[in-house]
């Protein structure tokens, strides 16, 4: 039940994303890919090489890319739009909203280099807000993979799911924390590691930090259950509540603003549950440049240490 991160395989989620698109391109001729001039970062370059006729370079025009994808969906295709998350979601917000989400079109939006993972480029290339703005859209499904294993399953799930899907992908390498053989089901939270004192609901990159935090807490005699909340919409509130039943407190952990992301999902789901909750996330601040991702994790309070500290605090609440 407890993955040891020390020995876990490390994979790059966007690399796996790019390879999975090719698999799906082979399996389903309806899959088409649109790119906003970042194909060597988003890794749609593999799809372009393999299926040039189903690949559309859309230049640096995220709005048009998105509505163009809507048009492709209206002819029965399953288009994936690609750019950095900040642009894929935010620059094309109205196009996603009006053209895709209102009519529930089959467009998949993939936000790459999400969160703070484009550490060098600073505030303009970092997303603290993408989950929030995608979550408020009726008909949207919002997925945040915890590792590359989940990326692959999610891309399959997105193709199988009729309707708009947003997938948030980090630039960072990530250790495998989910299990290859377990199916991914949209909406279902995943138990990663068990414990009986505090439950840590974590999203994306923070799932592995939560596992590390749980290791530290275990050494101190506190049991932390780590739950991977990789579907941010739709949320199975009953499942979350069931997973926290009998626990003394909840910690949430996300590499996203505390407004509108996982902390919102959980505090909303538990609004009438009366169980103490503490939240780890970005405190209503913009991103900034740094020499490494680790520096930003420290600066924004997004390490295993921060998660463990909140777990200790909530156990004392």
């Amino acid at each position: 039940m407890s993955p040891t991160l020390a020995t876990a395989r490390i994979q790059n989620p966007r690399e796996v994303y790019g390879r999975t698109l090719v698999e799906l391109g082979r399996a389903d001729p309806r899959v088409v890919v649109l790119e906003g001039d970042l194909g060597k970062s988003t890794m749609t370059c593999y799809f372009e090489e393999t299926f040039p006729e189903r690949f559309f370079e859309m230049g640096i025009g995220e709005a048009n890319m998105t509505s163009f994808a809507a048009g492709l969906a209206l002819t029965g295709k399953i288009p994936f739009t690609n750019s950095f998350a900040v642009f894929a979601a935010g620059r094309a917000y109205d196009q996603i909203r009006m053209g895709v989400c209102v009519p529930k079109l089959n467009v998949k939006i993939v936000g790459s280099s999400a969160g703070l993972s484009d550490f060098g480029d600073g505030s303009s290339h970092q997303t603290v807000d993408d989950v929030a703005i995608m979550r408020v859209l009726p008909h949207m499904t919002v997925l945040v993979p915890a590792d590359a294993i989940e990326v692959r399953k999610m891309v399959y799930a997105a193709v199988a799911h009729p309707g708009p899907v947003y997938i948030r992908i980090t630039r960072n390498d990530l250790p495998d924390v989910t299990r290859e053989h377990e199916p991914f089901v949209i909406g279902r939270p995943g138990l990663i590691r068990d414990g009986s004192d505090v439950v840590i609901f974590a999203m994306g990159q923070m799932v592995s930090e939560a596992v590390r935090a749980a290791d530290a807490l275990a050494a101190e005699g506190s049991g932390a259950r780590v739950v991977n909340v990789s579907t941010l919409k739709p949320v199975d509130e009953a499942a979350l509540i069931a997973l926290a039943r009998g626990f003394r407190g909840i910690v949430t952990a996300e590499e996203h603003s505390l407004i509108g992301g996982l902390a919102s999902v959980v505090t909303w789901a538990f609004r009438n549950e009366h169980i103490p909750v503490r939240c780890v996330g970005i405190e209503d601040r913009w991103g900034q440049s740094a020499h490494s991702y680790a520096e930003l994790q420290q600066e924004y309070g997004l390490t295993a240490g921060h998660v463990a500290a909140q777990a200790r605090a909530v156990l004392n609440d």
Binding site: V32, G59, A63, F68, L74, G99, P103
Partner: protein
Amino acid sequence: MRRTRDPAELARIARLIRAHIVRMVGIDQKGHLGGSCSAADIVTALYFYQLRFDAARPDWPGRGRFLLSKGHSALAQYACLAECGFFPKRELLKVKTLGALLQGHPEVDRTPGIEANTGSLGQGISMACGMAAGLRLDARDSRVYCIVGDGETCEGQVWEASHAASFYELDNLLVFLDHNGLMTNGKLTDRYNTGPYPEKWRAFGWHVLEIDGHDPGAIVGALDTAAGLKGRPTMVVAHTVKGKGVSFAEHRPEFHNGTLNRAQYQQALRELGADPDAPFDETPLCALPEFALPGGAAATTGGAA
């Protein structure tokens, strides 16, 4: 459905369409009269001359696609769809009411014959490009028709789409610019000039035609000409009059999304040759002998794509 390229017949149908627009605007309620009337002749020519469709199977894959990028002119399209038999004509009278088939702006999942959700300006032309690309991927000969507003050309997305269409050589795409010179709040040349249009689209790599957008012969001619233009998309700059056909609304921005009082409503209908006191005729044109296809031939014949 039978097609006609007779200018007089198309003009007669367009008057009927405009009368429906007035009915849908109604009395003492807001409604997009101006832009619906300026586009009415083009929309009419598309449905009654050009477009290949099967009203009984609105999602027939072989159909031509028509979408209004200027979605606020939906009333013109709704009227044509009703007369072509996509849904009962009485739906026109329920437009914009709670639960109605016909929403304030086009909605693809609600209304048979509507191809996309438009209403947020600038998006529809991009969708049209995506459709054209999708049809080509499937090696379909269907064409995509789209109307953009001249005010709408303020939206940069129109120019993004124009780049995409020309780069991907979407010669199965034909766009009309409904160049009525007005946006919501006045004359474009006074308030925010986005012309000259032919030069712009030529520089963006399109074929460009220029016509009188109220001359059915010219519209049909442009459709025919465009069918032969290859290698690039075609823009038809159609000179139009906002509010066309309703004398007091012509050239008047107040009737962009304006209100008709009872007297204006009645006058408008009369000017369009409709009797405001007559009961609503529920029989669509497509049910009339002169529009039914002889010998029960499939409704999908006729029409260029």
